[in-house]
C-alpha cells in the first residue's frame, strides 16, 4: 500500500516537474524573442538618421530646383511652342487633309 502511495506521489511530482520545465521553456523562448526584439530596436536606434526637418527642407529644395512646367507658380507658364499637345492637334488636321500614313486604321 505504502509503496503504491509513493509511486502515485512520484508520478505527481514528475508531472509537476514536467509542467515546470515546459513553463520554463516557454518563458525562456519568450525572453529570447524579447531579446531579439530589443536587439533589433537597438540596431535601429544606432542607425544614423537625418532630422525630419532637414529631410523636409531637402524635399522642398528638390521641388524648387527641378524644372517642372506643371507648377507654373515657380516655373512660369508653359510656352506654347513647347506644348506638343497643341502642336499635335494641328498635325491631326493636316493628316486628315491628305496622307493617311503614320496610323493604322481601326474602324
Amino acid at each position: 500500500m505504502s509503496s503504491n502511495n509513493n509511486d502515485e506521489g512520484g508520478d505527481a511530482d514528475r508531472g509537476k516537474m514536467l509542467r515546470i520545465l515546459q513553463l520554463n521553456k516557454m518563458k525562456s523562448m519568450k525572453l529570447e524573442r524579447l531579446n531579439q526584439y530589443n536587439q533589433r530596436l537597438k540596431t535601429e536606434l544606432g542607425r544614423e538618421r537625418v532630422n525630419v526637418s532637414n529631410s523636409s527642407l531637402l524635399i522642398i529644395k528638390y521641388t524648387e530646383n527641378t524644372w517642372d512646367y506643371l507648377v507654373p507658380v515657380i516655373w512660369g507658364a508653359l510656352p506654347p511652342e513647347k506644348n506638343r499637345y497643341q502642336r499635335g492637334q494641328v498635325k491631326t488636321l493636316r493628316k486628315e487633309d491628305g496622307s493617311n500614313e503614320g496610323c493604322c486604321v481601326i474602324v
Binding site: R49, V52, I59, T63, L70, A77, G88, G102, C103, C104
Partner: protein, 368 residues
C-alpha cells in the same frame, strides 16, 4: 509633422489641367497604362484583351497586341522602349516586342520575347529595372527578379507576410533598389544584391497598403492605403513625414456613395475588376467578409509630377484624379472628365503629359 511652407498656390497660380486628347478604342476597362520613354507614345492595356500603342499627341493608334492573358494588372515599358512587360492574374509575366510604328510585317504577328512563370499566384505589379531585368510582385507573398537575356529568374525575395500589392523602383538607382507594399501593412525596401529586406516600414495598423511610388529624388516614397489614407515616408529620416488625409478629399469632393459594391463591382487588391456583370448585386452586403477582402477602397494609383511638387492620386471612390501639393498637404486641383473609377494615372518622363486610364474604357491625356 506638418511641413510649414510659405509658397502656397494662390487661386491665380493654381495649375489648371486641360484634357487635350481622349484615346477611344478599347471596349472594356482600361487597366494599365505606361508612357513610352519618348514621351509621345503611350500603351494602354484593357480587359478586352488588347494592348494598344497610341500617339498621345494626335490620338492615333500605332500598333496593337492581342494579349495572351486579358486579366492584366500591370504593364511596363523598358527604358529603351523596345519591350513591354505585362503581368496578370494568370501568374505569368509575358514580355512582348513593342512597335511604335505600324509595320505591315508585324501587324498581325505579335512577337513574344519571354514568358516568365514562377509565381504561384497572380502578379500584382511589375517594373523594368534595366533594359533586360524585370521585378514582379505577386500574391504569393514574394517578389521575383527576372533576367530577359538568361530567360529565367535570378532571385526570389521573401519577407512579406501578405500579398505583395505594388512595387516601385528607385528613380536614380534603377538597377538595384526597389520598394514593395503589401497587405501585411508593411513597406519593405530591397536591394537586388541582398536576399533579405534591408528596411521595413509599418505604414498602417488596420489597412493594407495597396499602392506606392518613389518620390522623384529617390529618398522618399508615398504610400496609399485601403482606408484612403496617403502618407509620405522618408528613407533618410526613417519615418513618416507627411500625411494627406482622406477627410480633405471628402470635404472637397463630397462623401462618396458606396455604389461600387451595389453595382456588383468586385475589386481585388491590385486595382483590377474581377467580375463586372455576373455577380448577384442584391445579395452582396458591405459586411460580407469576402467583399471586404476583394473590394479595395482607398488609393488605386499614385504618381508624382517631375519635380515631385504635385502628386496625382486616383481613389476607388471617385472618378477624378486628385492633385495634391506634396509640400503643403493641400488639394490643388483635380482632373475631372472620366465617368468611372480611374485605375491608373501616369505622368510622362519629361513631366508634361499626364495620362489617366479609366474603367469607362477611355484614356485621357492632360497637360497644363
Amino acid at each position: 509633422m506638418s511641413i510649414n511652407y510659405n509658397q502656397k498656390f494662390q487661386s491665380s497660380t493654381t495649375p489648371i489641367f486641360k484634357n487635350y486628347v481622349t484615346l477611344k478604342g478599347h471596349y472594356n476597362k482600361v487597366l494599365s497604362i505606361s508612357w513610352h520613354p519618348d514621351n509621345v507614345h503611350i500603351v494602354t492595356a484593357a480587359q478586352d484583351g488588347f494592348l494598344i500603342v497610341w500617339d498621345s499627341t494626335t490620338g492615333f493608334k500605332k500598333s496593337l497586341i492581342q494579349l495572351d492573358d486579358p486579366w492584366i494588372t500591370s504593364t511596363d515599358i523598358s527604358p529603351n522602349g523596345e519591350l513591354i512587360a505585362t503581368g496578370g492574374l494568370e501568374d505569368a509575366c509575358i514580355v512582348y516586342k513593342l512597335y511604335t510604328e505600324p509595320n505591315n510585317n508585324q501587324r498581325n504577328s505579335k512577337s513574344t520575347v519571354s514568358i516568365f512563370k514562377g509565381h504561384q499566384e497572380y502578379i500584382s505589379d511589375l517594373s523594368f529595372m534595366s533594359n533586360n531585368t524585370i521585378i514582379t510582385s505577386s500574391g504569393d507573398r514574394s517578389l521575383i527578379h527576372w533576367d530577359i537575356n538568361k530567360g529565367q529568374k535570378t532571385r526570389t525575395f521573401y519577407g512579406h507576410l501578405g500579398d505583395v500589392l505594388s512595387v516601385s523602383v528607385h528613380p536614380l538607382d534603377t538597377q538595384n533598389i526597389f520598394i514593395s507594399s503589401s497587405s501585411d501593412r508593411f513597406v519593405n525596401v530591397w536591394d537586388v544584391r541582398v536576399p533579405m529586406k534591408i528596411r521595413s516600414f509599418q505604414t498602417s495598423i488596420t489597412h493594407d497598403c495597396s499602392s506606392l511610388k518613389f518620390f522623384p529624388d529617390g529618398n522618399s516614397f508615398s504610400v496609399g492605403c485601403d482606408d484612403g489614407s496617403l502618407k509620405l515616408f522618408d528613407l533618410r529620416s526613417d519615418c513618416q513625414i507627411g500625411n494627406y488625409g482622406f477627410d480633405l478629399v471628402h470635404k472637397k469632393f463630397g462623401v462618396p456613395r458606396l455604389n461600387q459594391i451595389e453595382k456588383g463591382q468586385l475589386i481585388n487588391s491590385s486595382s483590377i475588376l474581377i467580375d463586372d456583370n455576373h455577380s448577384s448585386s442584391g445579395l452582396i452586403s458591405i459586411n460580407s467578409s469576402m467583399i471586404a477582402a476583394l473590394d479595395n477602397p482607398g488609393v488605386l494609383s499614385i504618381d508624382f509630377s517631375k519635380s515631385g511638387r504635385l502628386m496625382f492620386v486616383s481613389y476607388a471612390d471617385y472618378s477624378n484624379v486628385v492633385v495634391w501639393d506634396t509640400i503643403t498637404g493641400q488639394i490643388v486641383n483635380s482632373l475631372d472628365g472620366h465617368k468611372d473609377v480611374i485605375s491608373k494615372v501616369q505622368v510622362s518622363k519629361d513631366g508634361l503629359g499626364i495620362a489617366t486610364g479609366s474603367r469607362d474604357s477611355l484614356t485621357k491625356i492632360w497637360s497644363i
